[in-house]
Protein backbone atom coordinates (compact mmCIF):
# COMPACT_ATOMS: atom_id res chain seq x y z
CA UNK A 1 0.00 0.00 0.00
CA UNK A 2 1.22 3.45 -0.81
CA UNK A 3 0.26 6.43 1.20
CA UNK A 4 0.79 9.77 -0.40
CA UNK A 5 0.87 12.84 1.73
CA UNK A 6 0.66 16.16 0.00
CA UNK A 7 0.89 19.51 1.66
CA UNK A 8 -1.90 21.95 0.98
CA UNK A 9 -1.31 24.89 -1.27
CA UNK A 10 1.14 27.37 0.19
CA UNK A 11 0.83 31.06 -0.59
CA UNK A 12 3.34 31.76 -3.30
CA UNK A 13 5.71 34.66 -2.93
CA UNK A 14 5.51 36.98 -5.87
CA UNK A 15 8.70 36.76 -7.87
CA UNK A 16 10.64 40.00 -8.22
CA UNK A 17 9.76 41.78 -11.42
CA UNK A 18 12.60 41.92 -13.91
CA UNK A 19 13.48 45.60 -14.23
CA UNK A 20 14.72 45.32 -17.81
CA UNK A 21 11.27 44.05 -18.83
CA UNK A 22 9.58 47.12 -17.46
CA UNK A 23 7.51 48.82 -20.10
CA UNK A 24 8.45 52.38 -21.00
CA UNK A 25 7.06 54.98 -23.37
CA UNK A 26 8.27 54.79 -26.96
CA UNK A 27 8.86 57.79 -29.24
CA UNK A 28 6.63 58.36 -32.27
CA UNK A 29 9.40 57.59 -34.75
CA UNK A 30 10.38 54.39 -32.93
CA UNK A 31 6.70 53.39 -32.93
CA UNK A 32 6.44 53.99 -36.69
CA UNK A 33 9.72 52.16 -37.24
CA UNK A 34 8.50 49.17 -35.23
CA UNK A 35 5.29 48.92 -37.28
CA UNK A 36 7.18 49.42 -40.55
CA UNK A 37 9.75 46.72 -39.71
CA UNK A 38 6.93 44.31 -38.83
CA UNK A 39 5.21 45.03 -42.16
CA UNK A 40 8.37 44.73 -44.23
CA UNK A 41 9.58 41.41 -42.86
CA UNK A 42 7.14 39.23 -44.86
CA UNK A 43 7.91 41.18 -48.08
CA UNK A 44 11.67 40.98 -47.67
CA UNK A 45 11.46 37.28 -46.90
CA UNK A 46 9.34 36.70 -49.99
CA UNK A 47 9.96 39.53 -52.47
CA UNK A 48 8.11 37.59 -55.17
CA UNK A 49 4.90 38.25 -53.23
CA UNK A 50 4.79 41.77 -54.73
CA UNK A 51 4.11 40.16 -58.11
CA UNK A 52 0.61 39.12 -56.99
CA UNK A 53 -0.48 42.73 -56.71
CA UNK A 54 0.74 43.50 -60.26
CA UNK A 55 -0.94 40.77 -62.26
CA UNK A 56 -3.43 43.19 -63.81
CA UNK A 57 -0.86 45.80 -64.87
CA UNK A 58 1.28 43.04 -66.39
CA UNK A 59 -1.72 41.71 -68.31
CA UNK A 60 -2.31 45.20 -69.73
CA UNK A 61 1.37 45.46 -70.57
CA UNK A 62 1.40 42.13 -72.41
CA UNK A 63 -2.02 42.10 -74.05
CA UNK A 64 -3.03 45.76 -74.42
CA UNK A 65 0.21 47.62 -75.19
CA UNK A 66 0.80 45.72 -78.47
CA UNK A 67 -2.56 47.02 -79.73
CA UNK A 68 -1.48 50.66 -79.42
CA UNK A 69 -0.34 52.30 -82.68
CA UNK A 70 3.06 54.00 -82.68
CA UNK A 71 2.57 57.75 -83.13
CA UNK A 72 5.27 60.17 -84.23
CA UNK A 73 8.71 59.93 -82.70
CA UNK A 74 8.10 57.82 -79.55
CA UNK A 75 7.12 54.15 -79.53
CA UNK A 76 3.75 53.21 -78.08
CA UNK A 77 5.56 51.23 -75.36
CA UNK A 78 7.58 54.28 -74.32
CA UNK A 79 4.30 56.17 -73.88
CA UNK A 80 2.47 53.27 -72.20
CA UNK A 81 5.03 52.06 -69.61
CA UNK A 82 4.98 55.13 -67.29
CA UNK A 83 1.20 54.84 -67.10
CA UNK A 84 1.51 51.15 -66.21
CA UNK A 85 4.01 52.00 -63.47
CA UNK A 86 1.50 54.49 -62.03
CA UNK A 87 -1.29 51.90 -62.42
CA UNK A 88 0.80 49.36 -60.54
CA UNK A 89 1.42 51.85 -57.75
CA UNK A 90 -2.31 52.52 -57.49
CA UNK A 91 -3.34 48.86 -57.63
CA UNK A 92 -0.74 47.60 -55.22
CA UNK A 93 -1.27 50.34 -52.65
CA UNK A 94 -5.04 50.05 -52.85
CA UNK A 95 -4.80 46.31 -52.09
CA UNK A 96 -2.95 46.91 -48.84
CA UNK A 97 -6.14 47.26 -46.84
CA UNK A 98 -6.89 43.63 -47.69
CA UNK A 99 -3.99 42.59 -45.46
CA UNK A 100 -5.47 44.70 -42.71
CA UNK A 101 -8.90 43.11 -43.26
CA UNK A 102 -7.24 39.77 -42.72
CA UNK A 103 -5.66 41.05 -39.51
CA UNK A 104 -9.00 42.43 -38.33
CA UNK A 105 -10.66 39.06 -38.90
CA UNK A 106 -7.87 36.95 -37.39
CA UNK A 107 -7.47 39.15 -34.30
CA UNK A 108 -3.93 40.49 -34.60
CA UNK A 109 -5.23 43.99 -35.31
CA UNK A 110 -7.07 43.96 -31.99
CA UNK A 111 -3.84 43.04 -30.22
CA UNK A 112 -2.10 46.01 -31.86
CA UNK A 113 -4.94 48.33 -30.85
CA UNK A 114 -4.53 47.27 -27.20
CA UNK A 115 -0.72 47.53 -27.37
CA UNK A 116 1.04 50.78 -26.50
CA UNK A 117 1.72 51.51 -30.20
CA UNK A 118 0.21 54.89 -31.13
CA UNK A 119 -2.75 54.65 -33.47
CA UNK A 120 -1.12 57.19 -35.80
CA UNK A 121 2.09 55.14 -35.89
CA UNK A 122 0.06 52.04 -36.67
CA UNK A 123 -1.37 53.73 -39.74
CA UNK A 124 1.75 55.58 -40.89
CA UNK A 125 3.98 52.54 -40.48
CA UNK A 126 1.61 50.36 -42.47
CA UNK A 127 1.21 53.01 -45.19
CA UNK A 128 4.96 53.64 -45.50
CA UNK A 129 5.41 49.97 -46.30
CA UNK A 130 4.04 50.75 -49.77
CA UNK A 131 7.37 52.31 -50.74
CA UNK A 132 9.00 48.90 -50.97
CA UNK A 133 6.55 47.18 -53.35
CA UNK A 134 6.60 50.39 -55.44
CA UNK A 135 10.35 50.15 -55.95
CA UNK A 136 10.35 46.39 -56.56
CA UNK A 137 7.42 46.52 -58.96
CA UNK A 138 8.84 49.42 -60.95
CA UNK A 139 12.10 47.50 -61.27
CA UNK A 140 10.23 44.44 -62.57
CA UNK A 141 8.37 46.48 -65.19
CA UNK A 142 11.49 48.29 -66.37
CA UNK A 143 13.45 45.02 -66.62
CA UNK A 144 10.62 43.38 -68.58
CA UNK A 145 10.19 46.18 -71.15
CA UNK A 146 13.78 47.31 -71.68
CA UNK A 147 14.56 44.58 -74.27
CA UNK A 148 11.64 45.92 -76.36
CA UNK A 149 10.96 49.34 -77.87
CA UNK A 150 11.64 51.14 -74.60
CA UNK A 151 14.60 53.49 -73.97
CA UNK A 152 15.70 53.34 -70.36
CA UNK A 153 16.51 56.74 -68.79
CA UNK A 154 17.59 55.60 -65.34
CA UNK A 155 17.69 59.07 -63.77
CA UNK A 156 14.17 59.80 -64.97
CA UNK A 157 12.87 56.45 -63.77
CA UNK A 158 14.39 56.97 -60.31
CA UNK A 159 12.93 60.47 -60.02
CA UNK A 160 9.64 59.02 -61.29
CA UNK A 161 9.63 56.58 -58.37
CA UNK A 162 10.33 59.43 -55.94
CA UNK A 163 7.35 61.34 -57.36
CA UNK A 164 5.13 58.27 -56.87
CA UNK A 165 6.12 57.61 -53.24
CA UNK A 166 3.73 60.08 -51.55
CA UNK A 167 0.93 58.94 -53.87
CA UNK A 168 1.53 55.28 -53.00
CA UNK A 169 1.66 56.00 -49.28
CA UNK A 170 -1.51 58.11 -49.48
CA UNK A 171 -3.46 55.48 -51.44
CA UNK A 172 -2.18 52.85 -49.00
CA UNK A 173 -3.44 54.94 -46.09
CA UNK A 174 -6.86 55.39 -47.74
CA UNK A 175 -7.04 51.65 -48.37
CA UNK A 176 -6.24 51.01 -44.70
CA UNK A 177 -8.90 53.51 -43.64
CA UNK A 178 -11.39 51.67 -45.85
CA UNK A 179 -10.46 48.34 -44.27
CA UNK A 180 -10.91 49.79 -40.77
CA UNK A 181 -14.33 51.16 -41.76
CA UNK A 182 -15.38 47.86 -43.34
CA UNK A 183 -14.41 45.96 -40.14
CA UNK A 184 -15.06 42.22 -40.45
CA UNK A 185 -16.97 42.63 -43.71
CA UNK A 186 -14.13 42.24 -46.20
CA UNK A 187 -16.61 42.34 -49.11
CA UNK A 188 -17.34 46.01 -48.35
CA UNK A 189 -13.65 46.71 -48.74
CA UNK A 190 -13.42 44.95 -52.10
CA UNK A 191 -16.58 46.51 -53.49
CA UNK A 192 -15.49 50.05 -52.73
CA UNK A 193 -11.90 49.43 -53.82
CA UNK A 194 -12.94 48.04 -57.21
CA UNK A 195 -15.51 50.79 -57.75
CA UNK A 196 -12.98 53.55 -57.18
CA UNK A 197 -9.91 52.16 -58.96
CA UNK A 198 -11.09 51.87 -62.56
CA UNK A 199 -12.60 55.35 -63.02
CA UNK A 200 -9.41 56.77 -61.54
CA UNK A 201 -7.31 54.80 -64.02
CA UNK A 202 -9.38 55.60 -67.11
CA UNK A 203 -9.67 59.28 -66.21
CA UNK A 204 -5.91 59.54 -65.78
CA UNK A 205 -5.27 58.53 -69.39
CA UNK A 206 -3.31 55.49 -68.36
CA UNK A 207 -4.67 53.25 -71.10
CA UNK A 208 -5.59 55.77 -73.82
CA UNK A 209 -4.81 59.48 -74.20
CA UNK A 210 -7.37 61.92 -72.86
CA UNK A 211 -6.48 64.52 -75.51
CA UNK A 212 -9.49 63.99 -77.73
CA UNK A 213 -11.96 63.64 -74.84
CA UNK A 214 -15.20 65.66 -74.57
CA UNK A 215 -15.05 68.67 -72.26
CA UNK A 216 -16.74 67.16 -69.19
CA UNK A 217 -14.39 64.18 -69.27
CA UNK A 218 -11.44 66.51 -69.70
CA UNK A 219 -12.53 68.44 -66.60
CA UNK A 220 -12.90 65.24 -64.58
CA UNK A 221 -9.44 64.18 -65.74
CA UNK A 222 -7.98 67.53 -64.67
CA UNK A 223 -9.43 67.05 -61.19
CA UNK A 224 -7.87 63.59 -60.94
CA UNK A 225 -4.46 63.88 -59.23
CA UNK A 226 -3.32 60.72 -60.99
CA UNK A 227 -3.62 62.52 -64.38
CA UNK A 228 -0.90 64.99 -63.40
CA UNK A 229 1.26 62.26 -61.93
CA UNK A 230 1.03 60.20 -65.12
CA UNK A 231 1.91 63.28 -67.22
CA UNK A 232 5.10 63.89 -65.27
CA UNK A 233 5.97 60.17 -65.22
CA UNK A 234 5.78 60.11 -69.04
CA UNK A 235 8.16 63.07 -69.28
CA UNK A 236 10.58 61.60 -66.74
CA UNK A 237 10.61 58.13 -68.30
CA UNK A 238 11.49 59.78 -71.63
CA UNK A 239 14.44 61.54 -70.00
CA UNK A 240 12.83 65.01 -69.90
CA UNK A 241 12.54 67.15 -66.76
CA UNK A 242 9.85 69.82 -67.38
CA UNK A 243 9.90 71.91 -64.18
CA UNK A 244 6.28 73.02 -64.29
CA UNK A 245 4.94 69.48 -64.85
CA UNK A 246 7.24 68.25 -62.11
CA UNK A 247 5.88 70.75 -59.61
CA UNK A 248 2.25 70.02 -60.51
CA UNK A 249 2.76 66.25 -60.59
CA UNK A 250 4.72 66.07 -57.36
CA UNK A 251 2.26 68.49 -55.76
CA UNK A 252 -0.64 66.22 -56.75
CA UNK A 253 1.22 63.23 -55.32
CA UNK A 254 1.97 65.05 -52.08
CA UNK A 255 -1.66 66.13 -51.79
CA UNK A 256 -2.84 62.52 -52.10
CA UNK A 257 -0.23 61.50 -49.53
CA UNK A 258 -1.29 64.12 -47.01
CA UNK A 259 -5.03 63.62 -47.45
CA UNK A 260 -4.53 59.86 -47.25
CA UNK A 261 -2.57 60.05 -44.02
CA UNK A 262 -5.03 62.50 -42.45
CA UNK A 263 -8.05 60.36 -43.32
CA UNK A 264 -6.18 57.20 -42.33
CA UNK A 265 -5.06 58.46 -38.93
CA UNK A 266 -8.59 59.67 -38.16
CA UNK A 267 -10.03 56.28 -39.07
CA UNK A 268 -7.40 54.47 -37.04
CA UNK A 269 -8.02 56.69 -34.00
CA UNK A 270 -11.63 55.56 -33.99
CA UNK A 271 -10.93 51.89 -34.58
CA UNK A 272 -12.20 49.46 -31.94
Amino acid sequence: MTIEITAGPTPAEAMPVDRSLQTRPVGLLADIGNVLVRELRPILRQPASVLFAMVQPLVFLGLFAPLLPDTGEVSALQWFVPGIVAMTALMSASFTGANLSEEIISGSFERLLVSPVRRSALLIGKALREMVPLVLQTAVIVVVVTPFAFDLHLGGVLLGVVVLIPFSVGIGALSLALAVAAKEQAWVFWTVQQTVIFPLLLLAGVLLPIDGAPGWLQTAADLNPLTHIVTVERALFAGNYPVEDLIVGFGASLAVGLVGLLVGVRAMDRAD
Binding site: T23, R24, R38, E103, S106, S108, E110, R111, P116
Partner: protein, 335 residues
Protein backbone atom coordinates in the same frame (compact mmCIF):
# COMPACT_ATOMS: atom_id res chain seq x y z
CA UNK B 1 -5.88 46.61 -9.25
CA UNK B 2 -9.17 47.04 -11.06
CA UNK B 3 -12.03 49.25 -9.94
CA UNK B 4 -15.18 50.13 -11.83
CA UNK B 5 -17.92 52.52 -10.79
CA UNK B 6 -21.24 52.35 -12.59
CA UNK B 7 -19.51 51.10 -15.71
CA UNK B 8 -22.08 51.08 -18.51
CA UNK B 9 -22.00 50.50 -22.23
CA UNK B 10 -24.86 50.87 -24.68
CA UNK B 11 -24.93 49.74 -28.27
CA UNK B 12 -27.43 51.09 -30.75
CA UNK B 13 -28.48 48.68 -33.44
CA UNK B 14 -31.42 49.21 -35.77
CA UNK B 15 -32.55 52.18 -33.67
CA UNK B 16 -32.88 50.07 -30.52
CA UNK B 17 -30.48 50.60 -27.67
CA UNK B 18 -29.05 47.55 -26.03
CA UNK B 19 -27.57 47.88 -22.59
CA UNK B 20 -24.65 45.47 -22.95
CA UNK B 21 -23.17 46.35 -19.57
CA UNK B 22 -25.42 48.02 -17.02
CA UNK B 23 -23.80 49.86 -14.13
CA UNK B 24 -21.01 47.53 -13.13
CA UNK B 25 -19.42 48.20 -9.71
CA UNK B 26 -16.42 46.03 -9.23
CA UNK B 27 -13.29 45.82 -7.16
CA UNK B 28 -10.55 43.34 -8.02
CA UNK B 29 -7.46 43.23 -5.80
CA UNK B 30 -3.89 42.62 -6.94
CA UNK B 31 -3.11 38.92 -7.32
CA UNK B 32 -6.71 37.77 -7.76
CA UNK B 33 -7.72 35.28 -10.43
CA UNK B 34 -11.22 36.20 -11.48
CA UNK B 35 -13.53 34.57 -14.00
CA UNK B 36 -16.47 36.32 -15.61
CA UNK B 37 -18.97 33.58 -16.25
CA UNK B 38 -22.10 33.93 -18.32
CA UNK B 39 -23.74 33.02 -21.61
CA UNK B 40 -22.81 34.73 -24.90
CA UNK B 41 -24.15 38.25 -24.96
CA UNK B 42 -24.14 38.59 -21.18
CA UNK B 43 -21.71 41.50 -21.35
CA UNK B 44 -18.50 39.73 -20.38
CA UNK B 45 -16.53 40.64 -23.48
CA UNK B 46 -17.89 44.18 -23.58
CA UNK B 47 -16.67 44.66 -20.01
CA UNK B 48 -13.27 43.32 -20.96
CA UNK B 49 -13.12 45.55 -24.02
CA UNK B 50 -13.80 48.59 -21.86
CA UNK B 51 -11.18 47.58 -19.29
CA UNK B 52 -8.59 47.09 -22.05
CA UNK B 53 -9.36 50.52 -23.66
CA UNK B 54 -10.73 48.99 -26.87
CA UNK B 55 -14.07 50.73 -26.43
CA UNK B 56 -15.04 53.69 -24.26
CA UNK B 57 -17.76 53.34 -21.62
CA UNK B 58 -21.07 55.08 -22.31
CA UNK B 59 -21.05 56.17 -18.67
CA UNK B 60 -19.33 55.32 -15.44
CA UNK B 61 -15.60 54.88 -15.01
CA UNK B 62 -12.98 52.23 -14.63
CA UNK B 63 -9.42 52.15 -13.37
CA UNK B 64 -6.91 49.48 -14.26
CA UNK B 65 -3.55 49.33 -12.44
CA UNK B 66 -4.30 52.80 -11.09
CA UNK B 67 -5.01 54.42 -14.46
CA UNK B 68 -8.29 55.61 -15.87
CA UNK B 69 -9.28 53.63 -18.98
CA UNK B 70 -10.45 56.77 -20.81
CA UNK B 71 -8.15 59.57 -19.63
CA UNK B 72 -4.98 57.52 -19.36
CA UNK B 73 -5.31 54.96 -22.13
CA UNK B 74 -1.61 54.81 -22.94
CA UNK B 75 -0.66 53.97 -19.34
CA UNK B 76 -3.37 51.31 -19.14
CA UNK B 77 -2.13 49.75 -22.39
CA UNK B 78 1.40 49.59 -21.04
CA UNK B 79 0.19 47.92 -17.84
CA UNK B 80 -1.87 45.12 -19.28
CA UNK B 81 -1.52 41.97 -21.28
CA UNK B 82 -4.48 41.07 -23.46
CA UNK B 83 -5.36 37.76 -25.02
CA UNK B 84 -8.38 38.35 -27.23
CA UNK B 85 -10.80 35.91 -28.77
CA UNK B 86 -8.84 35.90 -32.02
CA UNK B 87 -5.14 35.30 -32.60
CA UNK B 88 -2.68 37.93 -31.41
CA UNK B 89 -0.14 36.97 -34.03
CA UNK B 90 -0.89 37.89 -37.65
CA UNK B 91 -1.22 34.80 -39.78
CA UNK B 92 1.22 35.95 -42.45
CA UNK B 93 3.86 36.88 -39.88
CA UNK B 94 6.22 34.67 -37.90
CA UNK B 95 5.80 33.98 -34.21
CA UNK B 96 9.26 35.17 -33.29
CA UNK B 97 8.79 38.47 -35.13
CA UNK B 98 5.41 39.06 -33.55
CA UNK B 99 6.66 38.61 -29.98
CA UNK B 100 9.66 40.81 -30.76
CA UNK B 101 7.43 43.51 -32.25
CA UNK B 102 5.24 43.49 -29.14
CA UNK B 103 8.33 43.73 -26.92
CA UNK B 104 9.58 46.73 -28.90
CA UNK B 105 6.14 48.31 -28.67
CA UNK B 106 6.55 48.18 -24.89
CA UNK B 107 9.88 49.98 -25.17
CA UNK B 108 12.18 47.07 -24.40
CA UNK B 109 15.64 47.55 -25.88
CA UNK B 110 16.58 45.48 -28.93
CA UNK B 111 18.76 43.08 -26.97
CA UNK B 112 16.27 42.66 -24.11
CA UNK B 113 13.44 42.21 -26.62
CA UNK B 114 15.40 39.50 -28.36
CA UNK B 115 16.19 37.65 -25.14
CA UNK B 116 12.64 37.98 -23.89
CA UNK B 117 11.31 36.61 -27.20
CA UNK B 118 13.58 33.58 -26.96
CA UNK B 119 12.66 33.02 -23.30
CA UNK B 120 8.91 33.18 -24.03
CA UNK B 121 9.20 30.88 -27.04
CA UNK B 122 11.01 28.44 -24.82
CA UNK B 123 8.57 28.73 -21.92
CA UNK B 124 5.61 28.07 -24.20
CA UNK B 125 7.35 25.28 -26.10
CA UNK B 126 7.21 27.19 -29.37
CA UNK B 127 10.87 27.51 -30.33
CA UNK B 128 10.46 24.92 -33.08
CA UNK B 129 7.55 26.80 -34.61
CA UNK B 130 8.81 30.36 -34.25
CA UNK B 131 10.21 30.78 -37.74
CA UNK B 132 7.35 29.69 -39.96
CA UNK B 133 4.27 31.75 -40.84
CA UNK B 134 1.72 31.65 -38.00
CA UNK B 135 -0.86 30.37 -40.50
CA UNK B 136 0.96 27.03 -40.45
CA UNK B 137 0.70 26.53 -36.67
CA UNK B 138 -1.95 24.36 -35.01
CA UNK B 139 -4.75 25.93 -32.97
CA UNK B 140 -3.06 25.03 -29.68
CA UNK B 141 0.28 26.44 -30.80
CA UNK B 142 -1.34 29.69 -31.90
CA UNK B 143 -3.11 30.03 -28.57
CA UNK B 144 0.17 29.58 -26.70
CA UNK B 145 1.69 32.22 -28.94
CA UNK B 146 -1.21 34.58 -28.09
CA UNK B 147 -0.53 34.18 -24.38
CA UNK B 148 3.23 34.61 -24.89
CA UNK B 149 2.59 37.90 -26.72
CA UNK B 150 0.31 39.04 -23.90
CA UNK B 151 3.03 38.43 -21.33
CA UNK B 152 5.88 40.15 -23.09
CA UNK B 153 6.43 42.93 -20.53
CA UNK B 154 5.43 40.83 -17.48
CA UNK B 155 2.21 42.82 -17.10
CA UNK B 156 0.72 43.17 -13.62
CA UNK B 157 -2.71 42.45 -15.12
CA UNK B 158 -3.58 39.89 -17.78
CA UNK B 159 -6.97 39.79 -19.50
CA UNK B 160 -8.05 36.69 -21.37
CA UNK B 161 -11.24 36.72 -23.44
CA UNK B 162 -12.61 33.20 -23.85
CA UNK B 163 -9.09 31.75 -23.77
CA UNK B 164 -9.96 28.12 -24.29
CA UNK B 165 -12.72 28.39 -26.89
CA UNK B 166 -11.87 26.13 -29.80
CA UNK B 167 -9.13 24.24 -27.97
CA UNK B 168 -9.17 20.49 -27.54
CA UNK B 169 -9.39 19.19 -23.94
CA UNK B 170 -5.67 18.51 -23.71
CA UNK B 171 -4.71 22.02 -24.79
CA UNK B 172 -7.41 23.47 -22.58
CA UNK B 173 -5.94 21.79 -19.52
CA UNK B 174 -2.42 22.94 -20.46
CA UNK B 175 -3.58 26.51 -20.88
CA UNK B 176 -5.37 26.47 -17.54
CA UNK B 177 -2.22 25.16 -15.91
CA UNK B 178 -0.17 27.99 -17.43
CA UNK B 179 -2.67 30.61 -16.31
CA UNK B 180 -2.75 29.22 -12.79
CA UNK B 181 1.06 29.15 -12.56
CA UNK B 182 1.26 32.71 -13.78
CA UNK B 183 -1.07 33.73 -10.99
CA UNK B 184 0.69 31.82 -8.21
CA UNK B 185 4.33 32.24 -9.33
CA UNK B 186 4.33 35.84 -10.52
CA UNK B 187 1.32 37.16 -8.63
CA UNK B 188 -0.19 38.40 -11.89
CA UNK B 189 -3.77 39.60 -11.54
CA UNK B 190 -5.81 37.64 -14.05
CA UNK B 191 -9.27 38.36 -15.37
CA UNK B 192 -10.78 35.94 -17.83
CA UNK B 193 -14.15 35.40 -19.41
CA UNK B 194 -15.56 32.00 -20.05
CA UNK B 195 -18.79 30.20 -20.68
CA UNK B 196 -17.24 26.94 -19.55
CA UNK B 197 -18.35 26.20 -16.02
CA UNK B 198 -15.59 23.67 -15.55
CA UNK B 199 -13.05 26.31 -16.42
CA UNK B 200 -14.33 28.91 -13.99
CA UNK B 201 -14.65 26.22 -11.36
CA UNK B 202 -11.20 24.73 -11.86
CA UNK B 203 -9.31 27.93 -12.34
CA UNK B 204 -10.68 30.97 -10.66
CA UNK B 205 -10.58 31.90 -7.00
CA UNK B 206 -13.49 34.21 -7.63
CA UNK B 207 -16.37 33.82 -10.02
CA UNK B 208 -18.44 36.77 -11.18
CA UNK B 209 -21.63 35.51 -12.77
CA UNK B 210 -22.96 37.95 -15.36
CA UNK B 211 -26.32 37.92 -17.07
CA UNK B 212 -27.97 40.64 -19.20
CA UNK B 213 -25.15 43.07 -18.43
CA UNK B 214 -25.47 42.78 -14.67
CA UNK B 215 -23.57 40.94 -11.97
CA UNK B 216 -25.90 38.37 -10.46
CA UNK B 217 -23.37 36.68 -8.19
CA UNK B 218 -19.82 37.34 -7.07
CA UNK B 219 -18.10 34.86 -4.81
CA UNK B 220 -15.71 31.92 -4.74
CA UNK B 221 -16.87 28.96 -6.77
CA UNK B 222 -16.99 26.92 -3.55
CA UNK B 223 -19.16 29.48 -1.72
CA UNK B 224 -21.51 29.83 -4.67
CA UNK B 225 -21.99 26.12 -4.70
CA UNK B 226 -22.16 25.46 -0.97
CA UNK B 227 -25.04 27.93 -0.71
CA UNK B 228 -27.00 25.51 -2.85
CA UNK B 229 -26.13 22.47 -0.80
CA UNK B 230 -24.83 19.04 -1.75
CA UNK B 231 -26.83 16.19 -3.17
CA UNK B 232 -26.79 12.97 -1.11
CA UNK B 233 -28.07 9.99 -3.07
CA UNK B 234 -28.61 6.69 -1.20
CA UNK B 235 -29.73 3.32 -2.55
CA UNK B 236 -31.41 0.70 -0.37
CA UNK B 237 -32.13 -2.99 -0.77
CA UNK B 238 -35.88 -2.47 -1.12
CA UNK B 239 -38.61 0.14 -1.33
CA UNK B 240 -39.70 -0.19 2.33
CA UNK B 241 -36.18 0.50 3.54
CA UNK B 242 -36.09 3.52 1.29
CA UNK B 243 -39.38 4.75 2.74
CA UNK B 244 -38.09 4.43 6.29
CA UNK B 245 -34.85 6.15 5.35
CA UNK B 246 -36.75 8.98 3.69
CA UNK B 247 -38.60 9.62 6.93
CA UNK B 248 -35.32 9.84 8.79
CA UNK B 249 -33.80 12.02 6.06
CA UNK B 250 -36.72 14.41 6.26
CA UNK B 251 -35.66 15.34 9.79
CA UNK B 252 -32.39 16.82 8.47
CA UNK B 253 -32.92 20.58 8.81
CA UNK B 254 -33.58 22.34 5.51
CA UNK B 255 -33.36 19.14 3.49
CA UNK B 256 -35.34 18.56 0.32
CA UNK B 257 -36.04 14.85 -0.01
CA UNK B 258 -37.04 12.89 -3.09
CA UNK B 259 -37.78 9.16 -3.22
CA UNK B 260 -37.57 7.14 -6.43
CA UNK B 261 -38.21 3.46 -5.76
CA UNK B 262 -35.38 2.23 -3.62
CA UNK B 263 -33.40 5.43 -4.12
CA UNK B 264 -33.53 8.42 -1.76
CA UNK B 265 -32.08 11.78 -2.72
CA UNK B 266 -31.74 14.75 -0.46
CA UNK B 267 -30.23 18.13 -1.04
CA UNK B 268 -28.94 19.94 2.02
CA UNK B 269 -26.41 22.60 2.90
CA UNK B 270 -23.14 21.00 4.01
CA UNK B 271 -24.51 17.65 2.90
CA UNK B 272 -21.06 16.14 2.67
CA UNK B 273 -20.59 16.79 6.41
CA UNK B 274 -23.98 15.34 7.29
CA UNK B 275 -23.70 12.19 5.18
CA UNK B 276 -21.50 10.06 7.48
CA UNK B 277 -23.76 10.61 10.51
CA UNK B 278 -26.85 9.94 8.45
CA UNK B 279 -25.44 6.69 7.11
CA UNK B 280 -24.49 5.35 10.56
CA UNK B 281 -27.89 6.43 11.99
CA UNK B 282 -29.67 4.51 9.24
CA UNK B 283 -27.52 1.43 9.80
CA UNK B 284 -28.31 1.56 13.56
CA UNK B 285 -32.07 1.67 12.86
CA UNK B 286 -31.92 -1.37 10.58
CA UNK B 287 -31.98 0.29 7.17
CA UNK B 288 -28.37 0.08 6.00
CA UNK B 289 -27.36 2.12 2.99
CA UNK B 290 -26.38 -0.13 0.05
CA UNK B 291 -24.84 2.57 -2.09
CA UNK B 292 -23.94 6.19 -1.38
CA UNK B 293 -23.13 9.14 -3.60
CA UNK B 294 -22.46 12.71 -2.50
CA UNK B 295 -22.32 15.25 -5.31
CA UNK B 296 -21.52 18.93 -4.93
CA UNK B 297 -23.56 21.33 -7.02
CA UNK B 298 -22.08 22.43 -10.33
CA UNK B 299 -21.91 26.04 -11.42
CA UNK B 300 -24.62 25.09 -13.88
CA UNK B 301 -26.87 24.45 -10.86
CA UNK B 302 -25.79 27.84 -9.53
CA UNK B 303 -26.70 29.58 -12.78
CA UNK B 304 -30.01 27.79 -12.90
CA UNK B 305 -30.72 28.79 -9.31
CA UNK B 306 -29.81 32.45 -9.96
CA UNK B 307 -31.55 32.97 -13.29
CA UNK B 308 -34.18 30.28 -13.49
CA UNK B 309 -32.63 28.94 -16.67
CA UNK B 310 -29.68 26.69 -17.33
CA UNK B 311 -26.53 28.06 -18.86
CA UNK B 312 -27.18 25.98 -21.96
CA UNK B 313 -30.62 27.51 -22.43
CA UNK B 314 -29.19 31.00 -21.97
CA UNK B 315 -26.55 30.16 -24.54
CA UNK B 316 -29.13 29.00 -27.08
CA UNK B 317 -31.17 32.10 -26.39
CA UNK B 318 -28.17 34.27 -27.13
CA UNK B 319 -27.31 32.29 -30.23
CA UNK B 320 -30.78 32.93 -31.55
CA UNK B 321 -32.02 29.35 -31.44
CA UNK B 322 -35.32 28.81 -29.69
CA UNK B 323 -34.84 26.68 -26.61
CA UNK B 324 -38.52 26.62 -25.67
CA UNK B 325 -39.22 23.27 -27.34
CA UNK B 326 -36.30 21.73 -25.55
CA UNK B 327 -37.09 23.25 -22.15
CA UNK B 328 -40.74 22.13 -22.25
CA UNK B 329 -39.70 18.52 -22.52
CA UNK B 330 -37.15 19.08 -19.76
CA UNK B 331 -39.90 20.38 -17.47
CA UNK B 332 -42.17 17.46 -18.31
CA UNK B 333 -39.40 15.05 -17.41
CA UNK B 334 -38.74 16.90 -14.17
CA UNK B 335 -42.44 16.94 -13.30
Amino acid sequence: MIRTVGLTRHFTRNKTTIEAVAGLDLEIAAGELVAFLGPNGAGKSTTLRMLTTLIAPTSGSAEVAGYDVVRDRAAVRRSIGYVGQGNAAGHQFRGRDEIYCQARAHGLSRSVAKERTAALLDAFDLSQHADVPVARLSGGQRRRLDVAIGLVQQPPVLFLDEPSTGLDPQNRVNLQEQVRRLNTDLGTTIVLTTHYLEEADALAGRVIVVDHGRVIADDTAAALKSALGDLIAMEFTDVEAAGAAAERADRVPGAQVRVQGSRVELRAAYGRDLAPGLVSDLAATGTPVARLEVVGPTLDDVFLDLTGRSLREAQQEADGTDPSAQSTTDQEVAA
